[in-house]
Symmetry: C2
Subunit: 204 residues, 2 copies
Amino acid sequence: MIMSDGPSLRDALIDAGTALLAEGGMPALTLRRAAARAGVSHAAPAHHFDGLPGLLTAIATHAFATFAKTLHTAREAAGSDPMARLNGTCQGYLTFAATHAGLFHVMFVSPEVNRGDPALMPHAARSYEILREACLPFTGVPDETLEVAVWSMVHGYASLGFATTDPRQRPFSQNLNFADLLAELLAKRQSPATNPLAPAPDTR
Amino acid sequence: MIMSDGPSLRDALIDAGTALLAEGGMPALTLRRAAARAGVSHAAPAHHFDGLPGLLTAIATHAFATFAKTLHTAREAAGSDPMARLNGTCQGYLTFAATHAGLFHVMFVSPEVNRGDPALMPHAARSYEILREACLPFTGVPDETLEVAVWSMVHGYASLGFATTDPRQRPFSQNLNFADLLAELLAKRQSPATNPLAPAPDTR
DNA sequence: ACACGGCCTTGACACTGTCAAGTAAATCCT
DNA sequence: AGGATTTACTTGACAGTGTCAAGGCCGTGT
């Protein structure tokens, strides 16, 4: 009843795939290449994943876990000011998208990953929740409109390539900071929770 | 001096590829399949496009042209109220993304298309410009911050799957309208350009 | 001792994009 | 007008992909 260390090849394949993704982007990620890098034959992955979609889903699951961790640390490192915390969370979002473009693509775009996978969903939901928590001080109560607005804006900003470090890829706007967009969105409620007329009841 | 009708096979291949994309999504689009559907041999496309990236770039170019047209008609059909016009433009954006998911993917995501292609860029720029024009009444002068904010938000909203007609794919927020997000973003400047001297009742 | 069942390998298949060579027709150049 | 050249396409091949079927190897359980 060993049960420990488990099938380490599975993790090795996930790591190999992630490395391939980081080195050569999406087209470099291949079942056979991941298998070769892990030192096994080309058909070995079939015993740990349900084909290529299965490997991609596992990679996405792993990526969402570190994504959630990245967002959390970025938020907590931003201090106590609500605006700074929300902006820090978004900067974590954008930095992750820029520095892990391959993973970001697998997580959000690749049509092969099963986004309803029971192992993936909790990590994805946790990521969303961290952003939602950072929105909370601005409304006092959960406000889906604001949450989705921020989420859409930061995700669109990243997807359109504004977050890239290579300005040659940016559509335009050489010096435009995401913090400006955030300020635009939250201009009318700079921080109603800090000086509330109605004291916000505890949240969940 | 024929110059007319030109290489019609090129257009046929673009149409075939677009049809494949609409029917089976990204994985269904294949050089050989597009060639077969156009009634030519598997190597014929090489004489009209620079491989698969060339075909994808041509499809994206064609798609951006109709995208710009869609945005324009959506904006003009929305009447004269600035908010209605901007919202109409965004609804056109979202409807296009939802009803032409394959084309949308090729246009904005697919890493194979050459987004610096001299034939593609004008149509893409025209699309962006239509959205920018719809933002103009809210500032009076071009305001890159607002433009990018709206653009990011609508693009992110579409990319995250909120625009899909299938609610099973939506992350959450069963009944959340993009118009609400837009109102949130523009709350502080309902239409200062129409009555710029009346600053009165904006905050509460 | 022996069958069993995970884990992995080998081999094959259909399919992909791309290249090289060949063919038929249209065009061009004396 | 007639040969040479260019254009548009076909055929055939090659490496690479995901996936399936069959078999081997080894540890475990009875």
